[in-house]
């Protein structure tokens, strides 16, 4: 009885959906988190009676055939790259990208990763680092006695040095864009790495050529919408239940068959 396996594929798909939704809800308050969505497609069809078959020599054709589907598969869990809302913190090293693009981070092994989480800090040597201590690219080092750190819309970082009234520029932040940001691979810690699907990284100055601008003193909240997630959860759970009903119905029918030969 194929219905049993078809329903099982449905249950497995809804389980994936619940898993994706639970990850979104768990990251409801993760800075720069982008929600995911489970997407499904129907599986192959068995064409029992092919539509359009000629049934008589006079040229009558079947207007509809018998096509039996075999279930559902999870095809992708793409990320929704829509913006999260800014949450004001007042911390001068909390940065947010308004618009497209990612901050570029250097990993301990020398490779680059990308993030939307702009909650940066300074390390012991005055370098701009992420919460995990990875360097923000291009590297910016703050003089030990600097005060009043300010980052403008175009990513220019300036400080005021003691005894001076005019700010001194200490560096320039880049924003990296990808033609297909959904194709980036998440590696945890709010970081993504480049893949063949994402296209090559295009480093650029914030606020130019489609790159977003920098907003200082704000962090980007997760773009998870709790109401949508809960309604998706309900629909996934109900779909799971209905699939389990199909499993028990096929079970009953099989039982009826096995009771035939007493």
């Amino acid at each position: 009885m194929r219905a049993l396996y078809t329903a099982a594929s449905g249950m497995a798909a809804q389980e994936t959906a619940v898993q994706v939704i639970s990850n979104n809800i768990a990251n409801l308050r993760t800075t720069g988190y982008k929600k995911q969505r489970a997407e499904f497609e129907d599986l192959l069809y068995e064409h029992v009676r092919r539509v359009g078959t000629q049934t008589t020599d006079q040229g009558n054709v079947l207007p509809v055939g018998v096509d039996i589907g075999t279930g559902v598969k999870t095809v992708a869990t793409p990320r929704m790259m829509g913006p999260g809302s800014p949450s004001q913190t007042g911390n001068p090293l909390d940065l947010m990208i308004r618009g497209d693009g990612f901050f570029k981070i250097q990993m301990p092994d020398g490779t680059f990763a990308y993030t939307r989480d702009g909650s940066f800090n300074l390390d012991g040597q005055g370098r701009l680092v992420t919460n995990s201590g990875n360097l923000v690219q291009p590297g910016i080092t703050f003089p030990a006695n600097a005060s009043q750190i300010s980052v403008n819309q175009n990513g220019q970082v300036s400080v005021v040095l003691p005894g001076q009234t005019n700010p001194t520029i200490v560096g320039q932040l880049d924003v990296t864009r990808f033609i297909n940001p959904v194709g980036l691979q998440p590696v945890g810690d709010n970081l993504y790495v480049e893949t063949p699907a994402s296209g090559a990284a295009q480093d650029g100055v914030p606020n130019t050529n489609g790159a977003g601008n920098i907003l200082q003193g704000n962090l980007e909240a997760a773009n998870v919408d709790a109401v949508t997630e809960i309604s998706d959860l309900i629909s996934a759970q109900r779909a799971y239940e209905m699939n389990s009903k199909v499993v028990s119905a096929s079970d009953q029918m099989l039982q009826a068959v096995s009771n035939l030969s007493r």
Binding site: A3, G71, V75, S198, G199, N209, G210, A239, K245, V246
Partner: protein
């Protein structure tokens, strides 16, 4: 005498098939752009010899046969997502996508941009526009798709929209003859012509068309199928009992 069991068998085969159809619908309850199937049964009159000369003439034996699975092409509910690359069709049309096997049609308007900037489906199939694939440039942003399916973007520092193509929307004179191909796509048989969709068809950006499977209907059909199946099984059982007792009583040779 065996007719009853053969009729029961034909009903059970048909019901088993219908259960498969229901199971596939339920499994695709949350598949974007999925269209539900329903089974269509037909009576098959057996052409065996029968006697019409008696007062109560023999009736022809009628079996059941599953003749078709009908595609329910009604509109699925639209869910707003706000994602600029989610597109739903409001009306009677399909998106055209290029697969390695040729052109296919889909109602699933969940699109992505691939590494070369082309508009693709989640499977990586190129979405066709009126003039070939729709390709975005590296510095394009703020993608907007209007009700007619024209895709426009803001490119770089420009403040004026630049067109990137128009989604190809196709309709069919006999959409029921489309054949499901899996992966949310349909194939058109050679003699079913795809024609550009009428002006009335509207494209909605930022929304997806959910599956048009109605849970309540499928559950009702499920109950109906499993009850009918059990009834058929008990009918077969009584028929078998009947035969057993016939054999027993008839084989008792009087001494």
């Amino acid at each position: 005498m065996e007719n009853a069991s053969l009729i029961g068998l034909s009903a059970q085969i048909a019901l088993g098939r219908e259960l498969d159809v229901v199971a596939n619908n339920v499994a695709n309850l949350n598949t974007n752009g999925f269209k539900a199937y329903s089974s269509l049964f037909e009576e098959y009159l057996s052409p065996v010899a029968r006697a019409n000369n008696f007062i109560g003439p023999d009736r022809r034996v009628s079996y059941v046969q599953d003749r078709a699975t009908m595609l329910d092409l009604s509109q699925g509910p639209l869910q707003r997502t706000g994602n600029p690359l989610d597109v739903a069709i409001d009306g009677d049309a399909f998106f055209a996508v290029q697969t390695p096997q040729g052109e296919r049609y889909t109602r699933n308007g969940v699109f992505q941009i691939d590494a070369t900037g082309q508009l693709v489906t989640s499977d990586g199939y190129v979405v066709l526009g009126d003039a070939g694939p729709i390709v975005f440039q590296a510095d394009d942003h703020d993608i907007s798709i209007n009700a007619q399916g024209t895709v426009s973007v803001l490119s770089g520092q420009n403040t004026l929209d630049a067109a990137r193509g128009k989604l190809r929307l196709m309709s069919f004179a006999q959409p029921q003859r489309l054949q499901s191909d899996g992966s949310n796509t349909f194939t058109a048989p050679a003699d079913v012509q795809a024609t550009p969709a009428s002006e009335k068809v509207r494209v909605v950006q930022g929304a997806i068309e959910k599956s048009n499977v109605r849970g309540v209907v499928e559950m009702t059909r499920l109950i109906e199928v499993s009850r009918a199946y059990t009834t058929m099984a008990s009918l077969l059982q009584s028929e078998s009992d009947l035969r057993k007792s016939a054999i027993q009583s008839l084989s008792e040779v009087p001494t």
